[in-house]
């Protein structure tokens, strides 16, 4: 299972940079970039913070798709 997200799209809609979103949720710009690319799976707390700043539910931003999960 692979975690997909709409962070990039929502960020563009809100006209926020990766840095400004990072500041809002308390992470670095690189972490936001990694989440958008799907390189990094955020913790539940961070995912909830992202949902909170976009005023959306978890399932509206993050969802799972079937795929090869790369661990390690």
């Amino acid at each position: 299972m692979e975690l997909q997200n709409r962070v990039k799209e929502l960020r563009a809609r809100f006209d926020w940079t990766q840095g400004s979103l990072g500041d809002r949720v308390g992470v670095t710009r690189q972490t936001i970039a990694a989440i958008e690319k799907g390189d990094y799976t955020p913790s539940l707390t961070l995912a909830l913070k992202i949902c909170n700043v976009f005023h959306l539910k978890m399932e509206d931003i993050f969802w799972l798709t079937k795929g090869v999960e790369e661990d390690e």
């Binding site: 308390g26 992470v27 710009r29 690189q30 936001i32 990694a34 989440i35 958008e36 913790s43």
Partner: protein
């Protein structure tokens, strides 16, 4: 990324210089033992000051600069002094990468330590030609730990870079 590479080089150079300083001090200690055995003057202890100079002139100012910068990032003098500068812990992703690097380093050390302990068995046979052999082994262990840490850190930063 460049910061990690720079820190890796700086740490390795510092450890090598520190090892050289220890070897010089060990040599001085050997001379001191000879003096103690025969305290009749005149006697002298000779020591190469070059590694000390290199350590204090090159590494010390860079470390002081990095400490000041780290203090600003970590917002705590205690954390800046007590935690290695190569620990990246700004957010959860960096903490995860640091944790993976520590894990990698631990695994490498788990194999390196018994090998190093085994290598120390050879000490009596090479004691005369290489009296500071244990210092070399300990410095090698430090280098192995650092290199494995930086290698894993670099690998994970490239993998979860977001760039």
């Amino acid at each position: 990324m460049n910061n990690i590479f720079f820190l890796a080089i700086l740490n390795i150079v510092t450890v090598l210089l520190f090892g050289w300083v220890l070897i010089e001090l060990y040599d001085a200690q050997l001379q001191f033992v000879e003096v103690m055995e025969n305290p009749e003057p005149p006697w002298a202890i000779e020591m190469n000051a070059f590694p000390f100079l290199l350590l204090f002139v090159i590494c010390a100012p860079i470390y002081i600069y990095l400490l000041v910068r780290t203090k600003r990032e970590r917002k705590s003098v205690w954390k800046a002094f007590m935690l290695p500068m190569e620990f990246k812990e700004t957010d959860e992703r960096e903490r995860m990468i640091t944790a993976k690097a520590c894990r990698g380093s631990y695994v490498v050390m788990m194999f390196a330590m018994p090998i190093a302990a085994g290598l120390l068995i050879m000490y009596p046979t090479i004691q005369d030609t290489l009296p500071y052999y244990p210092i070399i082994i300990v410095i090698l262990l430090l280098l192995i730990q650092m290199i494995s840490y930086f290698y894993t850190l670099h690998k994970n930063f490239s993998k979860v870079s977001g760039l």
